[in-house]
Amino acid sequence: MATIQRGVSLYSYQEEYFLRTMTLEDCIKAVSDMGATGVEIIPEQMCNEYPDLSPAFLKKWRGWMDKYDVQPTCADAFSEALLFKNRVLSDDELVDLMERDLKVASQLGCFVIRTLCTTPMRVIERSLPLAKKHGVKIGLEIHAPLDLGSSWFDPYQDLIDRRGTEWFGIIPDMGVFELRPSRIKAARAVRDGANAKVVQYVNDAYEAKADLKKVREEIAKMGANAEDFKWLGQVGRILHTDPQVLKKHKGHIFHVHAKFYDMLPDFTDENLDYEAVVPVLKEIGYDGWLSSEYEGNRTIDDAFPVDSILQVTRQHEMFKRLIGEK
């Protein structure tokens, strides 16, 4: 039976990689050490030869895949539309860049590239023959504040209706399923100067589904400062899409970005709705990867050491339980 597979975007280990305490090989080993099988990479983050990967590097890369018994999944691409200061790249040039990234992904052995929602749809459509040529799919990342259920997606649905889903599909980012304010972000707001009582008041109001306009008036009466209002703004931007919306996208989800900010020691995520999301993915027969994207580092790094391996490992303990892995 088809089942959801566990993977990691090496983006998750960027803090350690940046600080040179983990090498690319260490990152790949960390994925394998948790029994995960999928390796996603931002070539521009961890492949210094990008965009011209040498045979020597590719040999090493494939060797690591064999040694650690993992496989490449997604290569994250950026359409560098603002490459030049005085003009935006033309569609032709953006298609060229797309082909460059499809080629890099193919050399790495990835089955899909992630393209950003800033890539014009006409560029994606023109690139579909190139996707076929290189044997690599193009996945549009759907990231908060974009809503998987809104009419924003209609033009892309039209593209799917016209051109099929062999080469074009989506990569939803699980940050769209945010249940409640993140406790590490709230703590950061307090460290940045927000009043702990006001932050708690805002969080309680969110849980109680209070009208945030009224909350704004209330915290003004409490003497809220600029950081308090900034926190209210952050809470106001929380996006909780109904996980059932994934059913609408059945058949064209190529890959899943399993974004998270903080896993608790009991292997739960109180911030993001994985408890509801994974069962829906199972129900629709999704058999691709849940690819971890740890992003809490930038919230805590002003005050705490970052331990990306621990955080990702905790998330994978949760995935094992939710997937029903023995």
Partner: protein, 138 residues
């Protein structure tokens, strides 16, 4: 993100030209963004020290793939600054830095596909021994 790592805690020193006079100073920086970039999108760098601010016209940017004045960078599309790489900034300032301890402030702007991404860092660094000082010590 990574702002606090922009100014490297090492590498600050005066630079001596071939005639033996101090033409400026150098420091090392890290990228504040989460990936490497083509040099052309390194939009601007401002270095402030001792109340004086230096911009693109007075900064030479050097990485393994090339060395360019910041004012030339917008045309350099085929050379890259890697995510894990120190860049060396050479700031033109005749006479160089005089005091051993310097408050260095760096503001950097990168043109990401979705708009300008900025990074900011301030550190107090000590000048490292350099040729000029070594000569003077003799």
């Amino acid at each position: 993100m990574f702002d606090k790592y922009i100014v490297c805690p090492y590498g600050l020193h005066n630079v001596i030209d071939e005639h033996g006079s101090i033409e400026g100073f150098e420091l090392k920086i890290r990228i504040p963004y989460y990936r490497g970039v083509p040099l052309s999108v390194v939009d601007s760098i401002k270095v402030t020290v001792g109340g004086e601010t230096f911009g693109n016209e007075s900064i030479r940017f050097t990485v393994a793939s090339g060395s360019f004045m910041m004012s030339e960078m917008s045309t350099v599309a085929t050379r890259r600054w890697n995510f894990d790489e120190d860049a060396t900034l050479k700031v033109t300032k005749p006479g160089g830095l005089v005091y051993f301890d310097q408050r260095i402030e760096v503001l950097i702007a990168i043109r990401a596909p979705y708009g300008i991404f900025t990074g900011h860092d301030v550190k107090v660094l000590s000048l490292e021994p350099d040729k000029y000082l070594a000569v003077a010590a003799k």
